[in-house]
């Protein structure tokens, strides 16, 4: 147990250092950027005098080390700077968009894991559909998330009319708190109709985001499953008279899941990029909308905030994955 704790401390320490270095990199980028933040804040019509005064207010003429220190200590207290576009604190802006994205991204992650398992099992079994599924997977994994998204809208919304294609909910009186996740808030407020409707809105965008990553994870899972199935310990277990489902669940899966878990962690980066894009297609009021609005006007603080947020999310998920691996397979801690 002690070894596990040391491993945990090491991984968390590494994660904190990575996030700190990301913050330093973003600061360096801001310094190197051709755009004067004071000018950006005041708009193109500002006089030279006003810009000089604004530079003083923002402390832009201080030594870079001092500015960096201020930036980092600001981040620790949740200060992500002020958006050039909305003129509000970026943290406050993001807080309005984050719950929708968290709900979508976590649903997509669950979908990805379920789909990956389905792909791995269905293509390793011998049945006539395996070839068709494999071909579909090859094509699907090569498709950009935005194409999957619009194809899903055409099929499930326009042709079949099964599922909604835009926004998070049909209800104008949907509860707005306390978590900001409509599926959860619906249950908390006793509004099961809201929860059900929120689920229906989640299905298509989450599918579009999760398909590509699911194929990648499914491939890894399938190859490690088939590798472990012919291993010595599996044969021993069968020889002892243990039935196949139990061999699979108790012996094989535990060993095969490691590589697939690592791959899931790595694919989260791809899923974040997918979230930003797919939110545009489905009119999802999340971080992707905020990013898309910030890009054309070069709103650096806003985009830096999004980058930090997603960077922290990615590092956190991969740290959890590493720790889970170590718990599942104590050899990794060595």
């Amino acid at each position: 147990m002690n070894a596990t704790l040391i491993f945990l401390a090491k991984r968390v320490g590494a994660a904190v250092i990575i996030v700190l270095l990301l913050a330093v990199a973003i600061f360096a980028l801001q310094q190197a950027a051709p755009l004067d933040p004071a000018k950006a804040m005041l708009g193109p019509g500002a006089s030279q005098q006003a810009v000089t005064a604004q530079r003083q207010v923002m402390g832009l003429d201080d030594p870079p080390a001092e500015q960096l220190g201020r930036y980092i200590s600001g981040l620790v207290t949740g200060d992500l700077g002020t958006s050039y576009r909305t003129r509000r604190p970026v943290a406050q802006d993001l807080a309005a968009f984050v719950p929708a994205t968290v709900e979508l991204a976590s649903t997509a992650l669950v979908f990805a894991v379920l789909l990956a398992t389905f792909f791995a099992v269905s293509t390793s079994l011998r049945w006539p559909g395996a070839g068709v599924i494999r071909l579909l997977l090859l094509a699907g994994s090569s498709a950009p998330a935005f194409l999957l998204g619009i194809a899903a809208i055409l099929l499930f919304y326009k042709e079949l009319g099964w599922l909604p294609a835009s926004g998070r909910t049909e209800f104008s009186d949907a509860p707005s708190g306390p978590t900001g996740l409509l599926t959860v808030d619906g249950i908390l407020a006793g509004r099961l109709d809201v929860t059900l409707d929120a689920w229906r809105h989640l299905v298509l965008p989450a599918l579009a985001i999760s398909f590509g990553p699911a194929v990648a994870v499914g491939r890894v899972l399938r190859s490690s499953l088939s590798g472990e199935q012919v291993s010595d310990y599996a044969r021993t277990a069968r020889a002892k008279g243990i039935v196949e489902p139990v061999v699979l669940r108790r012996h094989i899966l535990r060993n095969a899941v490691g590589p697939a878990l690592s791959m899931t962690g790595l694919q989260v980066g791809l899923m974040f990029a997918g979230v930003l894009v797919v939110e545009q297609i489905f009119g999802w009021p999340g971080v992707g909308q905020y990013t898309a609005q910030s890009i054309p006007v070069a709103d650096f603080p806003a985009i830096a905030g999004v980058t930090l947020l997603l960077g922290v999310g990615y590092v956190a998920i991969n740290t959890v994955v590493d720790v889970l691996q170590a718990v599942a397979d104590p050899r990794i801690q060595a």
Partner: protein, 267 residues
């Protein structure tokens, strides 16, 4: 997927075919991609417009071809820069070893510990939007992947007898790296790079979709889909066709990558 040698050659030659199509796009396009050529909103299969026309009557096929040209060369450019930067870093780290290796690989790990597309968006925000800046940004976040692989290859090669012999006979370390280590890393790098083309095409299309590319009239696969989303339910071909262009490029990249691997690994 086990491919025969012949089909592997066919797969690898797809790279040449797509490159030719990209090169010749201006010649084989039936119309100018930037100017209206007929009535707007014509469905695919209309006379002279195999993939239909867009909202102001521009030929969708010509725009997709122009977009394919741009995407393909953009992806190749990023891979080339990744090979050069990653190659230098990987060879230096692998050949030098010691603290040089440690420092360079820590920097590399930092990049790899963060999602590349997200980093690229931040770099573009710093540099300002535009196609060239986007390519610079993606190149900045893409090389560590190659540095890792090349460094790994170099480390294995360094322990081989022929390298040791060269070093013992007094060959300079630069010459050892250039003549004896680098050539040995080429096959693994070629396989990695060809499998990477599809990924890059998709990533670049995603960034273009988010508005990190050329401004409006230019034909770009991701941006053409994003700008025409409002036509999806009535004139589906306008946003869908550019997406299919991305799909085709990425399928070609994946098939060709698999084929190159088959060809190189069977030696």
């Amino acid at each position: 997927m086990a491919l025969g040698r012949r089909s592997a050659w066919a797969g690898a030659s797809l790279l040449v075919i797509v490159t030719l199509v990209a090169l010749l796009a201006p010649v084989i396009s039936p119309h100018d991609p930037l100017t209206p050529a007929g009535a707007p909103l014509q469905a695919p299969g209309s006379a002279g417009f195999a993939l239909g026309t867009d909202s102001i009557g521009r030929d969708v096929l010509s725009r997709v071809l122009a977009g394919i040209r741009l995407s393909w060369f953009a992806a190749l450019a990023v891979i080339a820069s990744g090979l050069v930067i990653g190659g230098v870093v990987g060879v230096v780290a692998g050949a030098a070893g010691g603290w040089v290796d440690t420092v360079l690989m820590r920097v590399t790990d930092l990049f790899l510990a963060l999602p590349a597309p997200v980093l690229a968006i931040a770099v573009v925000a710093g540099l300002g939007p535009g196609l060239v800046n986007t390519l610079i940004a993606v190149s900045i976040v893409w090389w560590p992947f190659y540095a890792r692989i090349i460094r790994g290859e170099i480390r294995t090669l360094r322990a081989r007898p022929h390298v040791e012999t060269a070093r013992l006979s007094g060959v300079s370390s630069v010459r050892v790296a250039w003549r004896h280590l680098l050539p040995g890393a080429v096959p693994a790098v070629v396989v990695t790079a060809s499998l990477d083309v599809g990924n890059l095409v998709i990533t670049l299309a995603g960034l273009s979709f988010l508005g990190l590319g050329q401004p409006a009239p230019a034909a770009e696969l991701g941006a053409d889909t994003a700008r025409n989303l409002s036509y999806l339910l009535q004139q589906w071909w306008i946003p869908v066709m550019p997406g299919i262009g991305v799909l085709v490029l990425s399928v070609v990249g994946n098939i060709a990558g698999d084929s190159v691997r088959t060809l190189l690994e069977r030696r």
